[in-house]
């Protein structure tokens, strides 16, 4: 597949498929079907959350880094069983999908997101906004992330970050 082909129909269908992947991803999180979260990644997939400050300064540290299915599952099992936090939910909004590369079977995409967080007493806030920088591959007819880098606009996390972005 090649996104750079002049085939408009191909480009449109690819964009629709990536849009659907992103929509499935954010709804799984927002609907608290977090056990499905690791399934959006390849078995050796990588997920990280960093900040625009680190990204711009080319600093490697992340708030979260998962490599391989085990670490993804650990994030969710810890959330369910080990970590202590006040109940809250996310409402993700995702927009401005851009396909930035398409070669050797790896699709590079970029999209903006924002998250409104709601606490159990009803307090709402813009918890995060930023960019998804993704690498997507097709496995058995299904699109999966081989890499999802979350770049937060702000260095600040309010209270704690436990539900994946």
């Amino acid at each position: 597949m090649s996104y750079t082909t002049p085939d408009l129909e191909y480009q449109i269908s690819l964009k629709i498929r990536v849009d659907a992947l992103n929509a499935d991803y954010i709804h799984a999180i927002d609907d608290d079907r977090l056990e499905e979260w690791p399934n959006f990644f390849t078995s050796d997939g990588e997920y990280s959350v960093s900040t625009r400050e680190n990204y711009d300064l080319d600093l490697p540290i992340c708030l979260i880094q998962c490599k391989g299915t085990g670490m993804f599952r650990d994030r969710i099992s810890a959330l369910r069983q080990a970590n202590i936090f006040e109940p809250h939910t996310y409402c993700h909004t995702i927009s401005a999908l851009q396909i930035t590369g398409d070669s050797d079977g790896v699709l590079k995409t970029k999209a903006n997101f924002s998250i409104i967080r709601t606490m159990s007493e009803g307090e709402m806030m813009i918890f995060a906004a930023g960019r998804y920088l993704d690498k997507i591959v097709e496995t058995d007819g299904k699109l999966l992330f081989s890499e999802r880098r979350v770049i937060l606009e702000s260095r600040r996390i309010d209270t704690l970050l436990v539900i994946p972005i």
Binding site: V49, S50, T51, E53, N54, L57, L59, P60, I61, C62, L63, I64, Q65, K67, G68, G70, M71, R73, D74, S77, A78, Q81, A82, N83, I84, F85, E86, R155, R156, I157, D158, T159, L160, L161, V162
Partner: protein, 415 residues
């Protein structure tokens, strides 16, 4: 017990004999907050400002805070580190409004007043006016209109600043034992691996107490217990400076501690929890001992952290009486190879706002803040390990270091 019934901090009377109890009011009182800025942060303490390695070249600057006062830290032409309040002597605007940069001089963009890298006033725009009219009078003396400067000491790569002429050198401020603790961790030139911060919906002192409270670590943070970073039965202890102001809590991995784990009564769900991929819990000893967890506080608001191979300094900034911001600077050594850097990134999953073993610290302070504000006269009680402020060998089940913090707070505040 005295009753606190006045809104004026000058009438504030400490309601207990010692610091084993604290009135909730200290977390919620606006007047006390303002007084803390004057008497603690702008008083005789050493405020941690930033790291030496963050401003390596002449002209490099970084903006930071001492309490809630904005500060510029800059390396001058001679390589010396200077710090000044980030506030123009003219109208009070921020002089540096970017987080970092490299400059030849410090210029306030509002009216183009220019300062040298020592903070002295160098030039004023339209000093002679225009066409012989306006401008400054002859009496105006530049020497009286520099930026307010701080005394600076660079200690083991950490840059500290104080507003006081009298404060002793940093090594005396910390005391010999806690100097040795800094030397244990900061053994080589450092490099910054990254930054992030965490907003606490609580008064700054609740987070300081949380760090000095080694009693909570194995109880609140399930991961500590489950993965043997910190368990009550592990070796280690608490060191407290003679002043009581600073502390070190450390834990050593020992063979005995693994056998003892079954005897501890802790939250039941902890016993069954396991990680599928435990690579991030691997400890590559690099400091010449088996210490897995080393949390050192420097009064008032610095934490130096070694958790396994995750090194960091945490700087706490008060953001009003009900809020604070913790800036994490994650560190490696300059000579780390790519594999070690990746290992530190993996280990960093344990700490920070998303850290397996530390995220709860973001929540508990806010819970105290919310519950405490309705009754300022009520008191906390901190009886663990008696009422004294003394070190403890072999046990971290003590609140001695928290009591030490309150001793420091009272001494600075004159309360």
């Amino acid at each position: 017990m005295d009753t606190i019934d006045s809104n004026s901090p000058s009438d504030f009377v400490w309601p207990c004999e010692d610091t084993s109890q604290v009135p909730f009011r200290v977390y919620t009182d606006e007047d006390l907050y303002a007084l803390e800025q004057k008497r603690i942060f702008q008083g005789s303490v050493w405020n941690f400002l930033c790291l030496d390695c963050e401003i390596p070249k002449p002209g490099d600057y970084k903006t930071t805070y001492a309490g809630d006062t904005p500060i510029i830290v800059v390396r001058d032409e001679n390589g010396a580190v200077n710090a000044m309040v980030n506030r123009c002597a003219h109208k009070g605007s921020l002089v540096c409004y970017k987080p970092r940069g490299n400059v030849k001089e410090l210029t306030c963009v509002y009216h183009n007043w220019v300062y040298d890298l020592q903070g002295g006033l160098k030039a004023v725009a339209f000093r002679r006016g225009v066409g012989g009219k306006g401008g400054l009078s002859e009496e105006f003396d530049d020497r009286n209109h520099g930026l307010r400067t701080l005394r600076v000491e660079v200690f083991r790569g950490l840059i500290f600043g104080t507003f006081s002429e009298k404060t002793e050198p940093v090594s005396d401020y910390l005391g010999m034992e806690l100097v040795a603790a800094v030397d244990r961790v900061l053994i080589k030139p450092l490099k910054v691996l990254g930054y992030y911060s965490q907003i606490f919906k609580n008064n700054w002192k609740l987070y300081v107490e949380n760090n000095k409270d080694s009693y909570h670590a194995s109880l609140l943070h399930v991961f500590h217990n489950t993965f043997g970073v910190v368990r009550p039965t592990m070796g280690g202890g608490i060191k407290i400076s003679d002043s009581g102001w600073h502390h070190l809590s450390y834990t050593e991995r020992t063979d005995i501690s693994d056998k003892e784990i079954g005897k501890e009564k802790v939250r039941s769900k902890q016993d069954t929890y396991r990680l599928e991929d435990a690579a991030l819990m691997e400890h590559k000893p690099e400091l010449g001992d088996k210490v897995t967890n080393n949390i050192q506080t420097v009064f008032p608001t610095l934490v130096i952290q070694q958790i396994l191979n995750c090194l960091a300094v945490r700087q706490l900034i008060p953001r009003g009486v009900h809020e604070s911001e913790l800036i994490w600077t994650i560190l490696g050594f300059e000579d780390d190879d790519a594999e070690m850097t990746q290992h530190r990134i993996a280990t960093n999953n344990l700490v920070g706002p998303a850290g397996f073993i530390s995220m709860e610290d973001g929540a508990v302070g806010a819970w105290v803040q919310r519950a405490a504000k309705s009754d300022g006269e009520a008191l906390t009680v901190m009886p663990m390990g008696g009422r004294a402020i003394e070190p403890s060998q072999g046990s971290r089940v003590t609140e001695a270091a928290v009591r030490g913090f309150w001793k420091g707070w009272r001494e600075c505040m004159g309360i």
